[in-house]
Amino acid sequence: MKELTCIVCPVGCRITVEEKDGELVITGNSCPRGYEHAKNEYTDPKRMLTTTVKVEGGVLPRIPVISTAEIPKRQLGDCLAQLYQLKVTAPVAYGDIIVKDILGTGVDIKASREMPAKAAV
């Protein structure tokens, strides 16, 4: 059994998901979107991934990145570990793919801003 707070809309229903005879019994939701959300949260919760990656020669030392779609929650830690090993070089354009198909999830990691190179002094 799993209890969760629905985040589809501001109502914030407390939803309970139970497995009975191999079938999901979902209670507490007040709309079909809540039902769908609870089902996904129970079977395979997913989250967007956002973090920063080291960048060399840029106006800042880190560049923010974002996943192009949601990634299974259980794989977030491994994705982060991979991203923390990386180093990219400025300039980077907004939307540049930093990692393609990260850990076989089918999701790309892209730069979420541009990072101009630091002017030579």
Binding site: P10, I66, Y94, R113
Partner: protein, 414 residues
């Protein structure tokens, strides 16, 4: 002193200023200038690397930096002038503006209209009653966010967060992902300060406890933070000493509210609203000083950036009409509020059928299914909300405002 003349000068290159400058240019304004204090445009959005921005406007989940990038690209394409690393020192009631930076020195800028978009500031340790020393390691959530997300520093190893506003919640998750142990989030009020979706995604996802009606009673450490004492408080906010508990930590993150930044507005003699702590504005977001407009968090603290951009665009349309001499003038009448409304912005309406018609409000207390009503006008679009709560701003469009007599109310419906 360098002399500059513009049609519209925008103070601040964050979300409000960017949207205002882009809209002003699109409406046909001649020379539009953005003055930004930081080294680049984007404002606080550049440190908001998490997603959830732009759901209303762009219909997809973007990070703050992405949201900013779209506007920055537009600013560049439209040929809007930008000066960065530049501090505005003074705005006069006659719309004369003084600014300085290290390459141009002092600048005197005369503008057809000015749009204030300075945003807001975080409440600091000095502004809340925080007993104990002032060691390093006590900082606002926004500072921690900038250190981690932009400058690449980890400001601590073990953190306690005071305040459950959205920035505090977002930082609880962010610090956890970066390897900082977050002991818990402590909230003085009996209700969480942030959006439900942030409680779920930032705290529950990472098993970070949220302690309501609890505060930091003492800060320990002389030069470096050694820990904090937390304690429950009663309904009069009195510390219940028997509940005190010492938590060793090297980082105390303050997420205790935002205050619109209006030092320049005060200097210009602009009337401020004690509730919003921002300028009193009419439906075109024009302040009490003709030709000076306010947009975004300088006028009131918004929860969604989409609304901030929207207010910038409304202000820009008003500013362009002001410069063209087509904006009606008038004292305006106060927008009255009733029922479960704490404040509404704009606070005034003038007789201007072509003016802005968006109104933003916060409720006084949480309630179930509620309806926004307008006497002396007609609500267009969504008026019924399944749930209302003070952290979530309500927005509505009011059409056909009758001779500027408007009362907006929110009340529970069955």
């Amino acid at each position: 002193m360098k002399e500059i003349k513009t049609d519209i000068t925008v103070i601040g290159g964050g979300p409000a200023g960017l949207a205002a400058a882009v809209e002003a240019k699109k409406q046909g304004a001649g020379k539009v200038l953005i003055i930004e204090r930081d080294f680049e445009l984007g404002g606080v959005l550049q440190q908001c690397i998490h997603d959830g921005f732009g759901l209303h406007r762009f219909g997809r989940r973007m990070s703050g930096s992405e949201y900013a990038q779209i506007f920055i690209d537009e600013v560049n394409e439209l040929g809007i002038d930008v000066v960065t690393d530049t501090m505005v020192l003074e705005v006069t009631p006659e719309k004369e503006l003084y600014a300085c930076n290290s390459t141009d020195g002092m600048m005197h800028i005369s503008s057809g209209a000015i749009i204030l978009a300075m945003g807001c500031r975080e409440r600091t340790a000095g502004q809340i009653l925080l007993l104990g020393g002032r060691p390093s390691g006590v900082m606002t959530a926004g500072s921690v966010q900038r250190y981690i997300n932009m400058e690449g520093y980890l400001p601590g190893k073990k953190a306690v967060i005071l305040g459950s506003g959205d920035i505090g919640l977002i930082m609880a998750r962010r610090m956890t992902l970066e390897g900082i142990e977050v002991e818990g989030v402590y909230e003085v009020m009996p209700n969480p300060g942030g959006l439900t979706r942030n409680i779920v995604q930032c705290l529950e996802d990472f098993d970070i406890p949220l302690h309501l009606s609890t505060t930091v009673a003492h800060v320990h450490g002389n030069s470096v933070l050694e820990g904090v004492t937390v304690a429950k408080i009663d309904e009069n906010r009195k510390v219940l000493h028997e509940t005190e508990r010492f938590i060793p930590c090297d980082l105390l993150v303050l997420a205790v509210g935002l205050i619109p930044e209006n030092e320049l507005s005060k200097g210009a003699g602009i009337a401020l609203d004690p509730k919003t702590k921002g300028p009193v504005v009419d439906q075109n977001f024009m302040t009490s000083v003709p030709g000076i407009f306010a947009a975004g968090n300088v006028s009131a603290v918004f929860d969604l950036v989409d609304y901030v951009s929207m207010s910038g665009e409304i202000a820009a349309r008003g500013a362009v009409r002001y410069v063209n001499g087509t904006l009606p003038s008038g004292e305006g009448k106060d927008v009255k509020i009733a029922g479960n409304v704490n404040f509404v912005i704009p606070q005034k309406v003038i007789d201007d059928p072509e003016g802005g018609n968006m109104f933003f409000m916060r409720v006084k207390h949480p309630d179930g299914r509620s309806k926004i009503s307008a006497a002396g006008g007609e609500i267009a679009g969504k008026s019924v909300h399944q749930r209302v709560a003070p952290p979530e701003m309500l927005a509505c469009e009011v059409r056909g405002i009758q001779d500027a007599e408007l009362e907006i109310s929110v009340g529970a419906v069955g």
